[in-house]
């Protein structure tokens, strides 16, 4: 698929006077490269089960000033206790609604660029990463300096609203310095009638840093949501990721973790709840580049109706990465005969002293377990719900911060109740 459908939008963006020209070189390079590679098609190995033609057809337009709210938007329905929130509305930063916790510095994309002495950080040059580089709009950077324990979680609330087909490309850098800790949450919500969000997140964890990353994707069912999350971990750092995806028409999370220092650990947990013809795809790569590192992938999906899902998990253990431990678990619950899941856990091991395991199960509700609950007086409907919630709880119960956990539980059970009613 050709990127030329987006050429006019790209020219329009370059002429915007409120975008710094200092990034234009990178934008142009990325766009030129994207013109060569094109958007992925189903012939690409990593995109075999995911069709992005709705995006490559080129109907999305960049977000204009007129797509920003004309007055302060009402975000009551997205309020969450115990967190500080930064609001991005259709790609536009809402300063008056935003606050950050003590210990966190929030920089603009440009300030970040200057902080890095004009070095532009990017990831793997995959098509959507290039698209993000070319079209970056809401760029920002969260910095936590050395030895800083940030108590209050920071949330970026991405709201997508309106009737126009908008494309938004947020780019978030998070730098957590040595021996510091932070809980970061990205919350994607809104009632947009046609929307495409393509975010890129770059997380850098220095030695001994601890980072919790919570992601809720509950956009409208007319949203295409692609996320590229890149994590670089130094020695003794910990990365904990929890994701709940229950919104969007198409959801694709590309998660790529580099365990670069000894004893770096990453724990990736994800739960998807899909209905109608939703398609939710998790594409995870963990690279063990250093000895004594640890990773786990624990990914679950609950599929209703004709929805489809993909788990593509790859753990690569490089040659010198001895004594590492890694596991991958993918469990899927099909609640309709027409739902479909593609699961592909892969281990690539080049070291010889490692402990790795992987497993994948896909099935329907366990009839014997259902009967067991019924035989204790619980009616079939409630028993089913109890079991589905139990299935989900194996992911959700481990979420830190009681307020966030409660909010996510509520989000999940409300959606589930609607589906099971």
């Amino acid at each position: 698929m050709s990127i030329s459908n987006y050429k006019a939008e790209f020219e329009k963006m370059l002429n915007r006077d409120y975008f710094s020209k200092s990034l234009h070189t990178y934008r142009k390079e990325a766009f030129a490269q994207l013109e060569k590679t094109g958007f992925p098609t189903r012939k690409w190995e990593d995109w075999r089960f995911t069709n992005v033609s709705i995006i490559s057809d080129g109907k999305y337009k960049i977000s204009e000033i007129s797509d920003a709210p004309q007055t302060t938007p009402n975000i009551d329905s997205y309020q969450m206790e115990g967190v500080d929130t930064v609001v991005i509305y259709n790609g536009h930063y809402q300063k008056e609604l935003s606050s950050v916790p003590d210990g966190v510095a929030l920089l603009s994309g440009l300030e970040h660029f200057e902080r890095k002495n004009g070095k532009f950080e990017t990831a793997n040059n995959s098509p959507f990463d290039l698209l993000n580089t070319a079209f970056t709009d809401s760029g920002m950077c969260i910095v936590v300096e050395k030895d800083t324990q940030v108590e209050i979680p920071i949330r970026i609330l991405f709201i997508s609203n309106g009737v126009r087909s908008i494309m938004v490309n947020p780019r978030v850098y998070i730098d957590v310095a040595e021996s510091s800790s932070l809980t970061f949450m990205e919350h994607h919500a809104g009632d947009a009638e046609s929307f495409f969000q393509n975010e890129s997140v770059f997380i850098s964890l220095e030695n001994n840093a601890q980072f919790n990353h919570i992601r809720i994707q509950s956009n409208s069912e007319f949203t295409q949501n692609i996320a590229s999350i890149n994590v670089n971990q130094d020695a003794d750092s910990q990365y904990h990721f929890w994701q709940l995806v229950d919104g969007g028409k198409l959801g694709r999370s590309n998660i790529c973790v580099q365990l670069n220092g000894e004893n770096a650990q990453c724990y990736i947990n994800s739960l998807a709840l899909s209905k109608n013809n939703q398609h939710i795809d998790n594409n995870i790569i963990v690279n063990h580049n250093s000895p004594q590192t640890h990773s786990s992938q624990f990914v679950k999906s609950i599929l209703f109706d004709t929805s489809t899902g993909v788990f593509n998990g790859r753990t690569v253990v490089h040659k010198n990465a001895q004594k590492i431990t890694a596991n991958q678990t993918n469990k899927n619950l099909l609640l309709s005969k027409k739902a479909k899941m593609n699961s592909n856990p892969q281990l690539e091991i080049y070291a010889d002293d490692v402990k790795c395991s992987h497993g994948s199960t896909t099935g329907q509700i366990d009839e014997d377990a259902l009967f067991y609950l019924q035989s204790r007086g619980i009616n079939k409907q409630d028993a089913m719900e109890l079991m589905v919630i139990g299935f989900a709880n194996e992911v959700l119960d481990k979420i830190p911060h009681p307020e966030i956990k409660k909010a996510i539980h509520t989000e999940f059970t409300v959606k589930l109740n609607r589906l099971m009613a």
């Binding site: 067991y372 609950l373 019924q374 035989s375 007086g377 009616n379 409630d382």
Partner: protein, 252 residues
């Protein structure tokens, strides 16, 4: 309590039960013994309403109601309980949450108010002591990663918590070490009362050293072929089943 008349049951089109007659009155403990494959577990499962067990003939009346017309959950709410031979693990479902849902379902069916969390916890603590289980036990997922003995004690915990009128214990004693067996037997004995009844299905006479049955029945080839008292169980223990088989053959 329960009256089973001429009950015939098929499993996957094979006739397993061939005319069972059994009446259990309030307060009674009946033991059903028999070799493997004689239909003991089929009887237990058909009474609680498991789908693949098809009743082809006969009636079961439970406290005056037609049991076979009721859904599994309604049977439980009406006071019927089965301690499963192989309790299923339900990962992710917290044992306490499950027990509370079950207690409230039963209460709701009786038109009673739901129990609140504090009252429930203090009640469950008492019950846990009765089956010698630690409190951490109820915070684990239902039967998930439980040892054999823990699973059986969890069944007894559910029984004494739900307080059924008729409890069917399907080989609850099988595979238990002697300490676990004593705990299970004590759980049942403490729970006995003039208005509660039990059907104990077993392979082994051993548990009868700790329980006093009112009647003992021998199940053979889908039929109750001999009934008696504790003496009958002792005879089976001593002589095995073949003498009964011979008796049955002679009559036929």
């Amino acid at each position: 309590m329960i009256k089973i008349e001429n009950l015939n049951v098929n499993v996957e089109e094979k006739e397993i039960l061939k005319g069972i007659n059994l009446e259990v009155k309030p307060g009674e403990l009946h033991v059903i013994m028999g070799r493997n494959g004689t239909g003991k577990s089929t009887l237990a499962n058909v009474l609680v309403g498991k789908e693949k067990y098809i009743v082809t003939n006969g009636t079961v009346s439970f406290n005056g109601e037609n049991l076979l017309d009721m859904s599994p959950e309604d049977r439980a709410c009406a006071g019927l309980f089965l301690s499963f031979q192989y309790p299923v693990a339900i990962p992710g479902v917290n044992n306490m949450y499950f027990l509370k849902a079950a207690v409230n379902a039963v209460r709701k069916s009786r038109g009673e108010e739901e129990i609140d969390a504090v009252d429930f916890l203090s009640m469950i603590r008492e019950k846990l002591k009765m089956v010698d289980l630690d409190e951490s036990f109820i915070h684990r997922p239902v039967n998930d990663g439980f040892s054999g003995g823990e699973k059986k004690r969890n069944e007894i915990l559910q029984m004494i918590t739900l307080e059924p009128k008729l409890s069917i214990l399907d080989e609850t004693d099988s595979g238990l070490d002697i300490d676990a067996l004593k705990i299970v037997a004590k759980g049942v004995n403490d729970f006995r009362s003039p208005n509660r009844s039990f059907i104990l299905i077993t392979h082994y006479q051993r548990i009868l050293n700790y329980m006093k049955p009112d009647f003992v029945h021998i199940l053979m080839n889908g039929k109750i072929v001999k009934s008696g008292t504790m003496e009958l169980a002792k005879e089976v223990e001593k002589k095995g089943y073949s003498w009964i088989e011979e008796e049955v053959a002679e009559v036929a």
